[in-house]
Each structure stands twice: as structure tokens, then as C-alpha cells.
Amino acid sequence: MSVTFVEKVCVLGAGSTKYGKLADSIADISTQASVSAIDSAGIDPKDIKASYISNVFGIADKQVHIGPVLMSRLGIPDKPSLTIESACGSGSVSFREAYANVAAGFYDCLLVTGVEKVTHTGTEWTTTYFAYCSDFFYEGQAGASFPGLFASMARAYLTEFDATEEDFAQVAVKNHDNGVLNPKAHMQKKITVDDVMNSPVVASPLKLYDCCPFSDGASSVILCSEKFAKANGGDYVEVIGSGRGGSPAALQGREHLTTIPSTKLAVADAYKMAGITAKDVDFAEVHDCFTIAEIVDTEDLGFFEKGKGVQAVREGRTKLNSDISINPSGGLKSKGHPIGATGVGQVVEVFDQLTGNAGARTVNDAKIGLTHNFGATGASCAVHVFQSV
């Protein structure tokens, strides 16, 4: 894709609620996250020209059309908003649309807020709602759950490559180790491979601890032009690459069952725009909705060869401050997965890391961070690359 940009785009501020089972309403938590991002940026709400809101199941908390509600609470009801749904990838897709609007010069300062509130509906109904994100005629209708679809990828991976269920468990252990260091994480507890292996089977071969939790939560960032960021003062991070891609909606339509085509398309665009390769990335927040997903992601993003991602995990090469820190925040697995917020929350982590505010989970000497977030089984995907200033 060849595009002429008018403006360099920067992240000027970022904030999240805690992820987990939250009591406050979807309108409340989206406002809390937005206010924290506005405060982090050191701007006035009236500086915001428009907002991009990512949310999937607002109807579950009796609130769709969240944008105007949020704008009203922020004292800027006259400002336009747009709500974007792209399943679990909604946050990054929303971020991308905001990015494009700043890059094109339409707006100099935007609010991007992702939010989800589902845990009150219970496991059965959350599982059911999520299944609506599949190609329902072929998958959801035949009883596929999301753990089931990723379990189908896991079974294919176990069949094709030298991998074991214990290897998958190592991903969960690593991400929980990171999540313990993140005060906003949903699951702040260390676990062992045995804990994973002994947890109840959800969809064979995936067990409960191979799966990210259903979470409530909201995350926000302020996105602006470089000119706006410089005039504002304070820390900011530059967005140097942005890519998107798509995949056949159903697993059955993909040539390989252990690769997500949209990831490869999105990252190729993002690396090209940034003028970097996978080797230049210091850390990445990747879409680890299930342990198998993180292994597939790290291969599709070019960090490891196809089939070798599992070996990298086995050798500890993806731990915090090892070869490449994968999911220093704890990832979806430990930080939690409020699906509309997740992609924005990844950017919050990158902002905190690259501005020196990541505390005990800091990736040492990090200059370049990457976010990777997809919808459903990777039918939609966005990748972004960020650089410290």
C-alpha cells in the first residue's frame, strides 16, 4: 500500500481501568479510562476533535451508541464519535482508523477508547456471544466455541509440528509471570505447567489455563499529530508503522490451519511503512487469546520460523528481557481480554514501556514496540509499530 501522509502521528497519553470483573457500568468505565488518558496527555477535553470507540457487546450492558454518551460525560457533546466493531480486534482497528485520520490531516487530536463489559452475563452466555464472531453458518451453528476454534488450530499444530500440550502451557506460565508485575492485570497470580495441565478441559487440547479470561475493562489513548505533540510538551511516542489484513472468516477456508493470513499481511505492511524488520522489534504485545495463538502469532510476525515458535517458548526466549519480550503486560492471558478494549490496551502498554512508566515489568532499553491484535480466529487484524522519541 502506498500512501502519502500529511502528518506524523503520535500517542500523547494513555490510560486503562483495571481489567477484571468490574461493577461499574460500560459508560462509567469508558469514561474513567478516557479521563486517565486525557490527564496522562496533559490536554483539555476540548482539544479532542473526535473520538473512535471500540466495543462489541454493548448490548449486554444495555448501552450501544456509546460514543455520544462518553462525549457528553467529557463535556464535549458537540464532538463526533464513531463506534467500531471488529470482534476481539476492535481496539486495534479503531486505533488504525484514528491513526489514518490524523495522518491524513483531518484531525490533530483524537480520543481512542476501547471498552467491554460482559462478565455479568456468565460463562455460558459470554461463550455464546463470542461464538457469534465466528463464520456462524459453518462454525458457531455447529457448536464451535472460541476455545474450540483455537483448540482446532492447536490440534493441527500438534499434528504438524514437534510440540506438546506442556509447551503450550509454558506460554500461560510466562504471561502470568509478567501479569503479576502489572497492577492493572485481571489474573495476578503465578501458575505452573502442572496448574495448566491439571486445569479442566474447555475444548481439547486446550484447558482452562490455556484460555484468557473473559474480562471487563476500558483503555484509552490520545492520538495526535507530531506538531500537536511538540506544542503540547510532555512525553509522547511516535507511530511508525500501521498495517491491516484479512483472512477467510472460517478456519476451513484457510490453506494452512496453523497460520493466520491476516497477521502476515498486516505485519508486512507495518514493517514496510516503519522501514524495519522483525529483528528490530524490542518487545511485542501480541494477541494471545489462547496459548496456541501466541505461538502462531510469534511465527506469523516473523520473530520465529513456522513451527519453531514452540521451541522458542520452551527455551524461554520470549520471557521478559530475554531475546524478545512477548507480552510484557501479561497479555490477554493474564492482563485479561475485555475484547473491545484489548487492542487499545496494548497501545497503553507500549506507551508506558516507551515512556519509562512500566515499573517492574520494564523492557530494558526498549526503543521499538509492536502491537498485534486480531478479531475472531484472525479474520481481521491490525499491527502497529511504535518508536520512542
Partner: protein, 121 residues
């Protein structure tokens, strides 16, 4: 009948309705409206036998609403015989991975509230 209804009626008879591109010959499940390879809109119907082998699968114990009474069951993706196509379905009576090695020969037998029904050959 809609495209989905036609696919369902054929599945009830153990068949898979496919669309063959009249320009390049590429075969698709019948829900395709444009050719994946050449973009053509011209298709002819080709009826395949609903037989094949397990490409991958999972055994689901935590089910979406409506499927609790069937657990454990398998969601399967099958490689259809005599084509490059895959299709997904529901398989009852599968409790452990030993019941369903990848490559197991299966066939489509029906379509009901559980979607496309698959059984061992």
C-alpha cells in the same frame, strides 16, 4: 431457496453443494458469490459426496447455549474427498482424542439444530 438453504438441503442427503468457476475451474463451497482465484461471477453447481477425512477437530466440554446437552461433542473440520475443499461440522459420541485421530474417514449424514452432522464412515 437461498444459497444457505440449498447447501442445507443437500447436506441432509449427505452431499455438499459446491460452486465451480466457469472461467478458471476453481471450486468453492456454494456460499461463494465471486471466484477466489479470478474474481469471476460465473459458477456451475457441482454436487460432491459428503465424505472425507478429519483435518482437525476439538472436543468441546464448555459449550455455547443450546449445546450443553450434547457435551462432550466434537467440532470438526474435514477435508472433502476428491477436492481441495474443507467443511466444518458437528460430531456426537466423541469423548477423548483417541476416538478421533486426525485422518479418520468421516461422512456428512444430516443437518439439524447442530449444523452439519458428521459421522464416522
Amino acid at each position: 431457496m437461498s444459497i444457505e438453504e440449498q447447501l442445507i438441503e443437500n447436506a441432509k442427503n449427505g452431499k455438499v453443494l459446491t460452486h465451480k468457476c466457469t472461467d478458471c475451474g476453481h471450486l468453492h463451497l456454494s456460499t461463494a458469490y465471486y471466484c477466489l482465484k479470478c474474481g469471476s461471477k460465473g459458477f456451475e453447481d457441482v454436487l460432491l459426496e459428503g465424505t472425507g477425512t478429519i483435518a482437525t477437530y476439538t472436543i468441546i466440554t464448555v459449550a455455547p447455549a443450546g449445546f450443553e446437552k450434547y457435551t462432550p461433542y466434537a467440532f470438526v473440520v474435514i477435508n472433502l474427498d476428491n477436492s481441495e475443499l474443507r467443511i466444518s461440522g458437528f460430531m456426537a459420541g466423541i469423548t477423548t482424542p483417541a476416538d478421533l485421530p486426525v485422518g479418520t474417514k468421516v461422512k456428512i449424514t444430516d443437518f439439524d439444530e447442530r449444523g452439519i452432522i458428521v459421522e464416522k464412515q
